[in-house]
Subunit: 211 residues, 2 copies
C-alpha cells in the first residue's frame, strides 16, 4: 500500500510562536509542514525555521514557500513554488538537493510543472474553502483529469475534510494539504490524527476497490 501524504500548511496570520506550538503537537501525524507566511522576510523565515528546529520539528518535514534560498541555507526538505516564484526549471538546475513542489490550478500548469522537473504538485482548490471566497472550486473531476495529464504525485488542497478525503484519493491524489482544518481546529493534534486516519482509510478503500 502507498502511504499517502499529509501536508500541513501554516496560515498567514499567526505569530511564529503560535505556529511553532501547534507544529510541535501535529508533526508526528504529518509528512510536511509548509512555512508559508507570504509577507515574511527571509530573516523572519530563517528565525521561524530555527524555532521549529529548536522545538524538535525534524528539518526533513519542513518546506518553505517561495524562498528557495531559505530552504537551501537551512538545509530543509524543500520548497513550494508559486507563479510568482523562480521558474521551476531554474530551481531544479541550481538546487538539485531540494524537494520541489509547484502549486498549480489547471492541467496546463500541471504539465508545465512536471516538464520543468517538479517532484510533486499541489493542486486546488478542489472544494469550496473560506480561504478563497467567491472563487469556484475545481472539483474532483478536474482533479481526475489532472491525474491523467501527469505522472508525478498530486497533493490536493482546498476545503479537504475528513469526509471528502476519500473523493480526492479516488480521483488520484497522492495526498492532501490542509491549512485551516488543522491549524484553526480547537484541537490541532486530534484533527491532524483524524486527517491521517481518514487518509489511510481512503487509501485502503481505494486499494480494496482496485484489488
Amino acid at each position: 500500500m502507498i502511504i499517502p501524504w499529509l501536508h500541513a500548511v501554516t496560515p498567514e496570520c499567526e505569530s511564529i510562536l503560535e505556529c511553532v506550538q501547534i507544529a510541535v503537537d501535529i508533526h508526528p501525524y504529518v509528512d510536511a509542514i509548509h512555512v508559508r507566511q507570504k509577507q515574511w522576510t527571509a530573516r523572519m523565515m530563517w528565525d521561524a525555521v530555527e524555532q521549529y528546529r529548536e522545538a524538535g520539528i525534524p528539518q526533513h518535514k519542513l518546506i518553505v514557500n517561495d524562498r528557495v534560498d531559505v530552504a537551501a541555507a537551512a538545509n530543509l526538505r524543500g520548497v513550494q513554488l508559486a507563479y510568482h516564484s523562480l521558474p521551476p526549471h531554474a530551481v531544479r538546475a541550481a538546487f538539485a538537493q531540494l524537494l520541489m513542489g509547484v502549486s498549480v490550478h489547471d492541467e496546463r500548469e500541471a504539465r508545465q510543472a512536471e516538464q520543468q522537473g517538479a517532484d510533486y504538485i499541489i493542486y486546488g482548490h478542489v472544494f469550496p474553502t473560506a480561504c478563497k471566497p467567491g472563487r469556484e472550486p475545481k472539483g474532483e473531476e478536474a482533479l481526475r483529469r489532472c491525474r491523467q495529464a501527469i505522472t508525478i504525485p498530486i497533493v490536493a488542497i482546498g476545503g479537504i475534510t475528513y469526509d471528502n478525503i476519500g473523493k480526492v484519493i479516488s480521483a488520484g491524489a497522492s495526498g492532501v494539504a490542509v491549512m485551516s482544518g488543522i491549524w484553526h481546529d480547537e484541537h490541532p493534534a486530534l484533527s491532524a490524527r483524524r486527517y491521517r486516519e481518514s487518509l489511510m482509510a481512503a487509501v485502503q478503500g481505494t486499494s480494496m476497490l482496485r484489488s
Copy 2:
C-alpha cells in the same frame, strides 16, 4: 593603484524596461549593477535579469538585492544583503560562489558583517540624500571610524556626488554606490562616466598624498 568600485543601484519605481535601457548605457562605466526593487517577486527579478542579459549586460556585473536564490539560480556575481535578509553566515556557508555584500549603518554592524564572511559592505548614508529624508547622514568621520574597524572593502552610499567622492575615498572607502545620481540624471551614461572619472581622480589624489 587600486581601481575603485563604482556600483549603480537601480531605483525602486522604474519599469524593468526603463532600468534595462539605462543599464545598457551605463554598464561600461560601472563595476556592478544592483537589481534592488524591493517589492518585486522572485519571478520579476528573474525576468529582469534575463532582460539585462539579453541586452548585453554581463552577468558578472549583476548583483541582486536580498534574493540569494535568484542570484544563485541565474549565476550572477552576487547578492546584497540587508537586515531583513538571510543572515550573512548562512549565505556564506550555503552559497560560497556568490560575492556577498552586506548593507550596514554603523561600526557594530560592519564588524558583524565582516565576522560573518561578507566580501564587502555598503555603508551609509554618508551624505544627505533625498532617498532618506529627515534622517541624519553619517558623515565622513563615521566612515573613517568604520574603515578602522574592519578590513574588508567599504562601498560608500548616500548623496555621493562627483565633488564629494574625494572625501569618501580619503576616508577609506574602496568605492561608491550611486542611485539617483546616475539613474535620475538626464544623461545617465555621461553621469556614470563622470562618476568613474571622479573616482579615478580621487584615488590618484589619495595615492599621491600617501606616496
